[in-house]
């Protein structure tokens, strides 16, 4: 008996000219779960998601994804036509994926209603706010109920209320058995995911559940109220400073995912020096 479908990538390598965007990165995206890819600018998140979605062929490695008909993709640019209305955008997407008009209209109406976009159904997408447009883009990507849903930074630049609406849509897709992979720069988004892949400069720094990544963090953290003299291993959290001691074993503060990801990036940078 085979288990639930597990999409993902194994050892993929992508270079743009001499710039390595991804170096042997692997990712598993189990069905019914949200997998987050986190990292800063230039980490390789978009490249990895484009490979998963089939928009880009990696130089090496393999990608496991369902046929195009059963995959959904939200590119970083949203993929929405600004000069079509909300309904027209969804109609076009439904037709492209071979959905019946009745099914598409019924499902779209339910999603739009839940996302608070029902009243904007006849508005041009270009006239929507950033958050509304992102919600529309996510609805368009999941309208055909894909098995793999790839979302490139769906919550970037979106207000907290709209983020909540977006997360309802994402969680709904996962609850229906879809494997959701999303890229984000927000670690609180990553904390909502079942598993996380941390990328930095095209290299996978850590992967696993949030707890696993935190547990695997090397060294210890301490918290200081004043700015430390040496800030190479320190960062500000709220009004205080966190300082990472790679050799330390007595932590004065319990790290969270944000701390663990920052430490992973610092450790990788220290290894390169």
């Amino acid at each position: 008996m085979t288990g639930p479908a597990q999409w993902g990538a194994s050892g993929i390598f992508v270079a743009y000219g001499k710039t390595v965007a991804l170096a042997d990165v692997s990712l598993s995206a189990p069905a019914g779960q949200v997998t987050a890819v986190v990292g800063g600018d230039g980490a390789g998140k978009t490249t990895l998601l484009r490979c998963l979605a089939g928009a880009l062929a990696p130089d090496r490695g393999s990608v496991r994804r369902p046929p195009k008909e059963r995959a959904g993709y939200l590119p970083a640019s949203s993929g929405i036509y600004p000069d079509l209305t909300v309904t027209e955008n969804l109609d076009f997407r439904a037709t492209g994926y071979g959905m019946s008009r009745a099914d598409a209209r019924e499902r779209a109406a339910a999603y739009l209603d839940r996302a608070g976009l029902a009243a904007a159904a006849d508005r041009l997408a270009g006239q929507l706010s950033g958050g509304m447009r992102q919600k529309l883009a996510v609805i368009a990507a999941m309208l055909h109920q894909p098995e793999l849903l790839v979302l490139d930074e769906p919550t970037t630049g979106v207000d907290p209320v709209s983020r909540s609406g977006l997360w309802w849509l994402i969680a709904h897709a996962a609850a229906q058995g879809c494997a959701v992979v999303l890229a984000t720069t927000y670690l609180d988004d990553a904390e909502r995911a079942a598993s996380v892949l941390v990328l930095d400069a095209g290299i996978a720094l850590a992967s696993g559940t949030g707890e696993q990544i935190v547990a695997a963090m090397p060294g210890a953290l301490r918290e200081e109220t004043a700015r430390p003299a040496d800030t190479t291993r320190a960062w500000r959290r709220g009004g205080r400073w966190r300082v990472w001691d790679p050799a330390g074993d007595a932590a004065s503060v319990r790290p969270d995912l944000q701390d663990a990801v920052t430490v992973a990036a610092l450790a990788a940078a220290a290894g390169q020096r």
């Binding site: 992508v14 743009y16 000219g17 965007a21 600018d41 230039g42 980490a43 390789g44 998140k45 978009t46 490249t47 484009r50 979605a53 089939g54 928009a55 880009l56 062929a57 990696p58 130089d59 990608v63 046929p67 195009k68 008909e69 995959a71 993709y73 590119p75 970083a76 640019s77 949203s78 993929g79 929405i80 036509y81 600004p82 997407r93 492209g96 994926y97 071979g98 490139d152 095209g202």
Partner: protein
């Protein structure tokens, strides 16, 4: 501000090229092309005195064919089929000179040369009856409007199509199309069919206005004209997609589209007669689709030219179409089938498929 502007211009190679190379290129090309002077007028002579006429007619007339056994109908067919610009029919009480009015500048030059030869000697011994065919009033609009139909098609086919495709690319929706279960051919056709239909409507409007308001005749077969327009549109739409595939944004697409439009207007014979353009520049005309459409449109509309004598124009237009559309399709596939490279398929240019503004 000035330094910033220079830095930006220096990095925009295409604009830099347009600013420096284009003026020089235009000056050289226009210098050789911009000529209404007709130095040679090709002539056919028919009837029993055809040989005598061929000896008597001096420059600028150039007798290219004599047919003593033929009459007026043959001579007129020579004009209709665009083989010569003037014909002399002998055998009557007076020779009859037929001039092709659809070759406006050649016709005017022929009338002026006949008058000059009659005055100075060196012409026909007997003052001939002169008939201007196909455009008796030597009206400019009659010869311009058939060609302008082609310019309208270039505008819609090349400029608007290139903008439509590059807009998809710029907004990132082309990448969305690439991952949807659509074949590249579906997307290609879906993109160009609306422009094809709009261009067809535009063509009908321009033709209607030309005929109704400017009184331009339509003497030939609408089917032959439609076939020529169809082939021409095929080429211009292909140019549009090709341009969009090498343009990063709409500004670049317009720049390139204008660079294809300008030589077509100047060198296709639409304004300056092809025979007046210096041979060093004239060869460019034979790579321009408007050259062939212009020949078809003028031939069919003004001279009722059948498809037979126009075969070369149709063949060259068809070859250009195959060349351009194949190139455009291959480039387009590169955007829409990047995953194909995994399986050794065509296209899949990773670098060009990278969307603008997307961070890795």
């Amino acid at each position: 501000m000035i330094v910033k502007e220079f830095r930006q211009v220096r990095r925009d190679r295409r604009t830099l090229a347009m600013m420096i190379v284009l003026p020089v290129l235009l000056l050289v090309v226009l210098g050789y092309a911009a000529s209404f002077d007709v130095k040679t007028i090709t002539v056919a002579a028919s009837g029993p005195q055809a040989a005598i006429v061929s000896r008597q007619l001096k420059a600028p007339f150039d007798i290219t064919v004599t047919a003593p056994g033929q009459g007026r109908a043959w001579a007129q067919n020579q004009l209709r089929d665009g083989k010569v610009e003037m014909a002399v029919v002998t055998g009557g009480s007076k020779p009859e000179v037929l001039i092709d009015g659809s070759q406006l500048f050649a016709a005017r030059a022929a009338l002026a040369a006949l008058a000059a030869l009659a005055h100075n000697g060196g012409g026909l011994p007997v003052t001939p009856n002169v008939t201007v065919l196909y455009n008796p009033g030597l009206t400019t609009s009659d010869i311009m409007i058939p060609g302008l139909c082609g310019v309208v098609l270039v505008f819609v086919g090349t400029i608007i199509t290139s903008l439509g495709v590059v807009r998809e690319r710029q907004s990132g929706t082309l990448e969305q199309l690439a991952v949807m279960p659509l074949r590249p051919a579906d997307v290609f056709l879906g993109k160009i069919v609306p422009y094809f239909l709009v261009a067809t409507v535009d063509l009908a409007i321009v033709l209607g206005v030309g005929i109704a308001i400017f009184g331009v005749p339509f003497r030939g077969s609408p089917a032959v004209f439609a076939l020529g327009a169809l082939l021409f549109l095929f080429v211009t739409l292909g140019f549009g997609v090709l341009i969009s595939s090498v343009s990063q944004n709409q500004g670049q697409a317009i720049q390139l589209a204008m660079m294809t439009l300008l030589p077509q207007i100047l060198l296709s014979g639409l304004i300056f007669p092809l025979t007046s353009i210096a041979a060093g520049v004239r060869w460019i005309a034979y790579f321009l689709p408007l050259t062939y459409f212009n020949q078809i449109a003028r031939g069919v509309m003004l001279r009722a030219e059948p498809i037979g004598p126009l075969w070369q124009s149709f063949v060259f237009l068809g070859l250009l179409g195959v060349l351009v559309v194949t190139g455009a399709t291959l480039r387009f596939r590169g955007y829409l089938a990047p995953a194909g490279r995994e399986h050794g398929g065509p296209g899949g240019n990773k670098a060009v498929a990278h969307p603008q503004g997307a961070s890795a």
